[in-house]
C-alpha cells in the first residue's frame, strides 16, 4: 500500500490535483459535482482522478446510484500518517 500510495501522488503528472482531491474528501465526503465546484476543476478531470484513486484502493464511493459521494478507504485510513504527509504539502 505504501508504495502505491506515494507513487500515485508523487510519481505522476496528476499527483498534485489528486492530493488536493483527497484532502477535500478527508475533510468531508463529497460527490464529483461538489468537488469540481470546491476545487475549481473540470468535472471530467475530477472523474478521472476519482477513478484512478478508486482503482488504487485509496477512495471508495458510497454506492448510491445517483450523486454517489467518495470517501477514503479503510486501507487509506490505515496508512493515514503517510496520507497526511502527502496532502499537507499541496496548496
Amino acid at each position: 500500500m505504501e508504495a502505491v500510495l506515494w507513487y500515485v501522488f508523487i510519481g505522476t503528472r496528476g499527483g498534485e490535483n489528486r492530493a488536493r482531491l483527497l484532502r477535500a474528501l478527508a475533510n468531508r465526503p463529497r460527490n464529483p459535482n461538489q468537488l469540481a465546484d470546491d476545487l475549481d476543476l473540470d468535472y471530467t478531470t475530477i472523474r478521472h482522478h476519482l477513478d484512478v484513486l478508486v482503482e488504487n484502493d485509496v477512495l471508495r464511493n458510497s454506492g448510491d446510484e445517483y450523486g454517489a459521494i467518495y470517501l477514503p478507504t479503510d486501507r487509506a485510513r490505515a496508512n493515514w500518517e503517510t496520507v497526511e504527509r502527502i496532502i499537507e504539502q499541496v496548496e
Binding site: I10, G11, T12, R13
Partner: protein
C-alpha cells in the same frame, strides 16, 4: 548492420526525449511535495539522461565516433546486436514508466 546502428541511435535519442518528460513530471512534483521519493526519482532519471544523452551524442553526432560505430570493419556485428537490443529494451522500459506516470 545499418539497421542495428539506426536502431541504436533512434532508441537512445527517443529515450532522451522521454526522460526529459519524466524529469518535468518528477521535478514539478518535487517542488510541490518536497519528498525524498520525488528526489530519488529525479536523480534516477537524471543519471539515465546522462547515459542516454552521451550515447546519442557519441553514436549519432560525434564527428569521429559516429563514423566508427557505423563502419562494419571496425565493429563486430555481435556486440552491435547486443548493444542495440539493450538500448531498445531500455527505451521500452522508459516508455512504460512514462505511461504509468503521465496519468
Amino acid at each position: 548492420m545499418d539497421v542495428l546502428v539506426t536502431l541504436l541511435r533512434l532508441s537512445a535519442g527517443l529515450s532522451v526525449v522521454l526522460l526529459v518528460g519524466l524529469i518535468y513530471i518528477w521535478g514539478r512534483n518535487y517542488l510541490v511535495f518536497r519528498s525524498k521519493y520525488a528526489a530519488g526519482l529525479l536523480v534516477f532519471a537524471g543519471l539515465l539522461l546522462l547515459q542516454t544523452g552521451l550515447t546519442t551524442y557519441f553514436y549519432a553526432f560525434h564527428p569521429v565516433v559516429s563514423g566508427w560505430i557505423a563502419n562494419p570493419e571496425l565493429v563486430h556485428p555481435l556486440p552491435l546486436l547486443v548493444m542495440s537490443s539493450a538500448q531498445v529494451l531500455e527505451l521500452a522500459g522508459i516508455a512504460l514508466v512514462v505511461w504509468i506516470s503521465w496519468d
